[in-house]
Structure formats: structure tokens, C-alpha cells
């Protein structure tokens, strides 16, 4: 059987133009999409076979330009430069053609295998911003197709054109010439700049190892723009750099940079005029109308807080009956296991697995509801506005406005929160954001709040949960304020973020997002939490002969050993053990308590056991929730922190800082709450 042809295709484009939606449409994957910039921060790979060709698709992080500054932009640029995909598809937001074409002018200079996919054509046509794809293709001498990613329209045409481009041999151009459309781009700069490009190119032609790898014209332009990355590449050949230095010093980099940018904008403007169909009427868009109110100087933040209040209230109140239902089912299964499975196996099933995993499964409805609501808010484009309105207070306290995006992502899970910090260009600002992101309350902590707020603050559970999320933000901001004045001195970078248009979210997308979070939760329940429950059960059952879950068991010994640390907070040995196991995954705290309290036997057992435990009181419950909110993130998030900071020192600092902060704040809460509750 003949082997299929193979093709590598990179998807690139400005942030929030629908790259991941196209990626999902091509590959059938379910990568996270969102109506805000910065959803994709690392490249993702998928496979598809189209007309006998095996195509590997690489979804790259969004970038406005290839003069890369932030880590996610560098990932996109390095991929094209070093890995040389067979085809580079730039996804273009048709409603914003001119801005997107800026990247096109640069991409055309670094790869001869470029094609465009005009995405969001439905929105563009609705706004009277249609583009003549054939004319654009002719003008740029590259394939151009129209797509609507959300409806999977134009996907086959995109793949056909990519296969055609890869087979055209266009990409075989050696890149040593300076003016052909295959390797020279489509922008002509001023005579002086063109003269400089020619002279630099002539010198560069002397280094075959460099010109065989990169297009000469792009190297010349980048050298004129003083691109640090390209200068480093050229400096590797000291003779070459010595020859180039006099040529480069005869041109002012500021003038060259301004002239290059001017040349690009002039070419884009002329091109856009030629390919636009119809005339655009200037009018106030519905997004502008909504932004008048939702980003209002005075009302923007209160509206955001009110919406978040509603989201957490719904999470608790609407989730309650479904929790009762699951609790009932878990109770039945547990009773059946204890009654019908004899001996140690019955105990491990009833007291260990069902009590531990069941205690956690009960909170699945709350997780689903919260992420459904957050998905709706995100897909409408509202969360991007939330980042915008939070910029002012964050900036005043020393945090860059861009930090709010990782912090918001951290509400879902701290892992993507840490990764989203890649969009921050400044090293100090990025580290600062990484250090405060763990204070954002992730979804894994929600079951702990729902359990304790539900049991000890029944009438105001929604408000208590919302207050905890708010406390996390406050502690993050206070920490940033302190760090900015001690460890990371300097002004935070200004925040520039493109506001996506408001869109009506689709029910399917919201349900899909909700389910992906639910699936992750269930997978955790079946792995980490299950293993954690079995370990806690074993510790609570042995050595042989001790009463299950007593202080004489291994769990009791462990808890008693560490209890002095937690005693000032009012925690007994059971809570201490649960908190230690919470480092594996935060849900394990509830699972461990379920096992230690023997909660599997009947419906509502953990709730009843907590109410009956003399150690537990509303004050202890509040203190425990605060401690869980603030103490170190789970092991997976800590590993990602190490990866993103590139430093064990800062990872260690984060672990110590979060634990110390958690202890101090919880101690204050425990003592102040006593006065009021």
C-alpha cells in the first residue's frame, strides 16, 4: 500500500481571529477557544488526512507582528523560521483587514509558503466589510480562501489550497534573491531604505549558511530595525558582522524603522482599497453602545462584581438539588457495598473509595454550572472588558493590566493561569504575575467552599463563596503591591489590549466548555482523588487492630505530628491530614475528610459528621476555607510554575510565600471572626 504524502501546516495570525476555531474545525479537536486575545499561548498540534495527504496542523499563539517581544510571540516566529512548515496559513479577521495585513507584510518576508484564510467573513459581510478574495490573491500572488470557522465553512477549500501551494514548488526558492515575490514580500520601501536593504543583502550573500536558512531580504530588514534576535544570528559569523557594521552604521535605525513601518502601512492602505467590496459607513457599533456602560469609569467595576455575585449565587443555589441527588445515589451505592462486600474489601470500597470519591463527585454540578456561566461571559467578550476595567486599579498598585488575563484564567485552573502569563513581555512583570496567580481561587477549591459554606453558612453560602474569590484577588493585589516595591521595582508596562466585539455565545460552545471542565474533574476523581482516598483509607485503617480513623492510626499519627502548626488556626489532626493531601489536588481535601469522617455510609453523612464534630464551628470552617484558598497550589500547578518561571528559586519562594500568607491571613480571620460569629 502506497504511503500518503505528508504536509506540515502552521496556523498563524493576530490574537482572537479564530485560529483555534479553524484548528478545531480542521482536526476535530476540542482545544479551548475564547472571545479574547491570548487564549492560545503555546503551539498545539493536530492531524488530518485530506485527499490522500497526511497533514499535521500546528496552531500557533496569536501575534500582531513577528518582531517578537513576548515568549508566546517568539514561539510563533521561531516555529516558522526554524521548523520551516510546508505551508503557513495566516488566519485573517476580515472585519479588521488593515490591521491583520501588517502581519502579512512581515510573514511574506520570512516565508515563501504563505497563504491567507479570510476568517469571520460572515461578520464582515454583515458589517459591509466584504473582501474580494480573488483580487487579494492576485495582488499578493498567494492563495487566499474565505472561511467561517464556527460553521466549518471553507475548510476543504483551505486544505485544497494548502496542498496546492505545497506542491507548487514556490517554497523551493533559495531566498538569496531580493526582489522576487516568492521571497521578497510585497512592500517597497523608500529608495534610501531599499538601497540599504540591497547593500546589506549583498554582504549577507557571502554567508551561505545564513542565506540558505533565512530569506535574505528579511534578514536585511530586521538588521535595519535592530532586531536583537537577528543581530545575534549574524554575530555568530564575526567576519560577516565586521563587514556589515560600516554599512549598518551609515543608516539611522530610528529613521529606517519609521520608514519601514510607513512603507508597510502605505502598501496595506492601497491594497485594502483595491480589495474591499462596497463602502464602509461610519456608525456606532452595538459593541460601542454596550461598552459605554460596561466599561464606564464608575459603574464598570460594580457591574462586574454584581455579575460575579450572580454567577456564584447561581452556582450554589441551582447546584443544590443536583448535589442532593448525587449524594443520595452515592449513599445507596455505599450502603450496598458495605452490606454486600465482606471484610477489608468492603471497608476499602465503602469507607475508602466511595466515601472519598463520592464526597468529591457530589460537587460536579457546581463545577459544571460555574464553568457554564464563565464560558457564557467569556464568549460574549465580556471578560475582555473585565480585564480592561481592572487595569486602572491594578496599574495603580503596580501590577500590569495584562496580569488580569492570567489571573482570570486562574479562576478556572492555575495551570492555564500560569501559562497565560507568557503574554506579558516584561520579565519582572511576568514573574510578579506568576507569584500572585496562585491566589486566584481555582475550580478545584470550589467543592471545599460549597461543602463548608453550605454546612455552616447555609443562608449566605453564595455570599461567603463570592467573598472568598474576592479575598483571593485582594491578597494577590496586596502581594503585587509589596513585590513591586521590594523585589521587582519599576513601572509596570502599559496595557494595550484589543477589545473583541461582543458576540452572542452559542449554547453548544458553552456546553462543550462546561463539559471539558466536568470531564477533567471526573478524570481527577478517577485518578488522583481515588488514589488519595485509598492512601488516606490505608493510613486511617492501619496498623492492624486500631479503630478506623482514630488518632492511633497512621493518619492520626501523621495528623498529630503536624497539628501544632495548625493548632493556632483551630484545626484538629483530621483537617491537618486533609490539608497535606490537598497538595496533590485540592479536591482531595474534601475526599480525605470524607474518608476520615467515614462519610460513605449514607446520604449527607459528611455534612452530619461535620456538624457533630465539636472541633468544627462556623469560625473553623471560615478559617479552613481561607487557608485552602491561599495555601500552595496543587502539584501540577507548582510544576508548571517551575516551567514558566524557569527557576527553582522562584518556585520555592512561591511555595513558601503562599503557605506563610495562608497561615497569617487564616490566623487573623480565625481571631477576628470569633468577635462576630
Amino acid at each position: 500500500m502506497a504511503e500518503n504524502k505528508k504536509l506540515r501546516l502552521g496556523l498563524i495570525g493576530n490574537p482572537n481571529v479564530g485560529k483555534t476555531t479553524i484548528f478545531n474545525a480542521i482536526t476535530g479537536a476540542r482545544q479551548k477557544t475564547g472571545n479574547w486575545p491570548g487564549v492560545t499561548v503555546e503551539k498545539k498540534t493536530g492531524q488530518v488526512t485530506h485527499k490522500g495527504v497526511d497533514i499535521e496542523i500546528i496552531d500557533l499563539p496569536g501575534t500582531y507582528a513577528i518582531t517578537a517581544y513576548s515568549p508566546d510571540e517568539i514561539i510563533a516566529r521561531d516555529f516558522i523560521l526554524d521548523e520551516k512548515p510546508d505551508v503557513v496559513v495566516q488566519i485573517v479577521d476580515t472585519t479588521n483587514l488593515e490591521r491583520n495585513l501588517y502581519l502579512t507584510t512581515q510573514l511574506a518576508e520570512i516565508t515563501p509558503n504563505l497563504m491567507l484564510a479570510l476568517n469571520l467573513t460572515d461578520f464582515a459581510e454583515a458589517q459591509g466589510l466584504a473582501v474580494d478574495a480573488d483580487k487579494l490573491s492576485k495582488e499578493l500572488s498567494i492563495p487566499v480562501v474565505k472561511t467561517v470557522g464556527t460553521r466549518k465553512e471553507g475548510i476543504n477549500e483551505l486544505l485544497d489550497a494548502a496542498i496546492g501551494l505545497a506542491g507548487s514548488g514556490k517554497g523551493t526558492c533559495a531566498g538569496s534573491c531580493t526582489s522576487c515575490t516568492s521571497c521578497g514580500g510585497f512592500v517597497n520601501f523608500s529608495p534610501k531604505t531599499e538601497d540599504a536593504i540591497t547593500k546589506i543583502s549583498e554582504v549577507l550573500a557571502g554567508d551561505a549558511s545564513l542565506t540558505s536558512k533565512y530569506l535574505t531580504r528579511w534578514l536585511a530588514i530586521s538588521l535595519l530595525e535592530e532586531d536583537a534576535n537577528v543581530i545575534e544570528k549574524v554575530k555568530a559569523n564575526s567576519d560577516l558582522y565586521a563587514k556589515l557594521s560600516p554599512v549598518l552604521s551609515s543608516y539611522s535605525p530610528e529613521v529606517a524603522e519609521a520608514d519601514i513601518a510607513d512603507g508597510r502601512y502605505t502598501a496595506i492602505s492601497a491594497l485594502a482599497q483595491k480589495v474591499r467590496i462596497g463602502k464602509v459607513e461610519s456608525k456606532i457599533s452595538p459593541s460601542d453602545t454596550l461598552d459605554h456602560v460596561l466599561t464606564d469609569k464608575w459603574l464598570g467595576i460594580p457591574i462586574f462584581l454584581a455579575l460575579m455575585c450572580a454567577a456564584f449565587d447561581l452556582t450554589f443555589t441551582f447546584g443544590a438539588p443536583f448535589m442532593t441527588l448525587i449524594e443520595t445515589v452515592v449513599g445507596w451505592i455505599s450502603t450496598f457495598a458495605v452490606d454486600n462486600v465482606p471484610g477489608l474489601l468492603g471497608s476499602i470500597l465503602g469507607d475508602g473509595i466511595i466515601a472519598g470519591v463520592g464526597s468529591v463527585l457530589v460537587f460536579l454540578p457546581n463545577i459544571l454550572i460555574l464553568f457554564f456561566v464563565l464560558s457564557i461571559l467569556e464568549d460574549t467578550g465580556y471578560l475582555a472588558r473585565a480585564a480592561f476595567i481592572m487595569d486602572r486599579p491594578l496599574h495603580a498598585l503596580g501590577l500590569p493590566g495584562k496580569a488580569f488575563i492570567p489571573m482570570l484564567s486562574g479562576f478556572g485552573c492555575n495551570v492555564p493561569g500560569f501559562m497565560a502569563a507568557r503574554t506579558i513581555e516584561d520579565e519582572k512583570d511576568r514573574l510578579l504575575t506568576l507569584l500572585v496567580t496562585p491566589f486566584m481561587s481555582c475550580g478545584a477549591r470550589l467543592p471545599i467552599y460549597v461543602l463548608f459554606a453550605g454546612v455552616f453558612f447555609t443562608a449566605n453560602a453564595g455570599e461567603v463563596i463570592f467573598s472568598l474569590y474576592l479575598l483571593g484577588i485582594v491578597i494577590a493585589i496586596v502581594s503585587a503591591f509589596i513585590f513591586k516595591r521590594t523585589l521587582f521595582k519599576g513601572e509596570p508596562a502599559p496595557f494595550i489590549m484589543e477589545m473583541p466585539p461582543y458576540r452572542i455565545p452559542t449554547l453548544f460552545a458553552a456546553l462543550e466548555h462546561m463539559w471539558s471542565r466536568g470531564e477533567l474533574y471526573l478524570r481527577k476523581a478517577g485518578t488522583f482523588i481515588l488514589i488519595g482516598a485509598v492512601i488516606v483509607w490505608a493510613l486511617a485503617s492501619f496498623p492492624v487492630g486500631v479503630e478506623y480513623g482514630s488518632q492511633e492510626s497512621y493518619a492520626g499519627a501523621l495528623g498529630t505530628a503536624i497539628q501544632p502548626i495548625f493548632e493556632p488556626l483551630g484545626f484538629d489532626w483530621k483537617i491537618s491530614v486533609a490539608l497535606i493531601f490537598g497538595f496533590v489536588a485540592k479536591e482531595v481535601v474534601v475526599g480525605s475528610l470524607g474518608v476520615l469522617y467515614g462519610a460513605g455510609d449514607d446520604e449527607g453523612a459528611l455534612t452530619d459528621a461535620l456538624l457533630e464534630d465539636p472541633v468544627m464551628s462556623p469560625v473553623t470552617a471560615l478559617t479552613l476555607m481561607v487557608f485552602t484558598l491561599l495555601y500552595l497550589p496543587c502539584v501540577a500547578a507548582t510544576a508548571v510554575m517551575r516551567q514558566e518561571s524557569g527557576s527553582w528559586k522562584w518556585t520555592g519562594f512561591m511555595v513558601v510565600y503562599t503557605c506563610v500568607t495562608a497561615w497569617i491571613v487564616s490566623f487573623i480571620v480565625a481571631n477576628v471572626a470569633k468577635l462576630f460569629i
Binding site: 454583515a126 453602545t289 447561581l314 441551582f318 449566605n460 461582543y502
Partner: protein, 157 residues
């Protein structure tokens, strides 16, 4: 020429019914917000129970924010009608959204009682009623009459 000017002015102005409804909604949301706040700190009046004002900082805050949106729209009528219109539209949308959350909360209360095989389901549901639930009538009316157009424009865009 005079006619075209007149029609231009009309198209930019907020319908008086919308203005009236926004004003009433703003005042009522403000009043209920203040009452919820007073109930939260323990000050109650005899009629509070019949209006389901049982206190709660969350409810008070949401009521006051919605009131602020409506009243800002009213206050900006003379300055910028397009902006005033936007505030009223968003006020109706918020009223509708918070009302739906309140309705779902009440339904969930009933469902919880039903699953727990308890008999007083209706009483259980009534315990969860807040002013946000019945104030949804403003959101519903405002949405059907005016804010729906903004919603449609967002869909079209």
C-alpha cells in the same frame, strides 16, 4: 429639510415610555436595595416580609448596582441621548439576567424539596424569593420593547 431634521432628532431620542419605565425601575431598584441593606443589618419594617425582603448583602448590592445603571441613564438624558439609551438598555438586560438567576434559584429550591421528598414544596420555594425575582418584570418589558433591538444588532454584527 425641516422634516429630515425632525426625523433625525426623533431617531436619536429615547422614547418617553422607555424613559418612564427606566425611571420607575431605577427608583424601585434603589428603594428595594436600601431596604435589603437595612434588613441585612437587622433593621426591619412590618411590610418587609410581604415584599420578601429578608436581607442579604449580595441581593442588596445587585439591586443597588442595577438601580445605578438605570438612574445614570436617566441623568444622562439631557447630556447625551445615545449614551442614556445605552444605559437604559443595559439596565433592562441586567434586570432580566439577575431575574433569571433568581427564578432559577427559586426553582432549584423547589426541586431540592421534591428530591428530599418533603411536602411543603411551594412554601420552600417562597422562602427563596427575593425582590430580584419580581423586579424581573422591568427587565422583561424593557427587553421586549427596546433592549431586544440591541441584542439583535449584536447577533447581526
Amino acid at each position: 429639510m425641516a422634516n429630515s431634521n425632525k426625523s433625525k432628532t426623533n431617531s436619536n431620542s429615547v422614547p418617553s415610555a422607555k424613559y418612564g419605565l427606566g425611571l420607575i425601575a431605577g427608583i424601585l431598584y434603589l428603594a428595594f436595595g436600601i431596604m435589603q441593606l437595612t434588613a441585612t443589618v437587622g433593621f426591619t419594617m412590618p411590610f418587609y416580609e410581604s415584599l420578601y425582603i429578608t436581607g442579604g448583602i449580595f441581593n442588596a448590592f445587585v439591586l443597588l448596582v442595577t438601580a445605578a445603571v438605570f438612574l445614570t441613564g436617566i441623568l444622562r438624558m439631557n447630556r447625551n441621548t445615545a449614551e442614556a439609551d445605552a444605559f437604559l438598555d443595559v439596565g433592562f438586560l441586567l434586570s432580566l439576567a439577575f431575574g433569571i438567576v433568581a427564578i432559577l434559584g427559586t426553582l432549584a429550591g423547589g426541586l431540592d424539596m421534591w428530591i428530599g421528598e418533603e411536602e411543603e414544596i411551594v412554601e420552600g420555594m417562597l422562602e427563596t424569593v427575593t425582590p430580584l425575582l419580581y423586579m424581573v418584570v422591568f427587565g422583561f418589558l424593557g427587553y421586549c420593547l427596546w433592549a431586544k433591538d440591541l441584542f439583535r444588532k449584536v447577533v447581526a454584527a
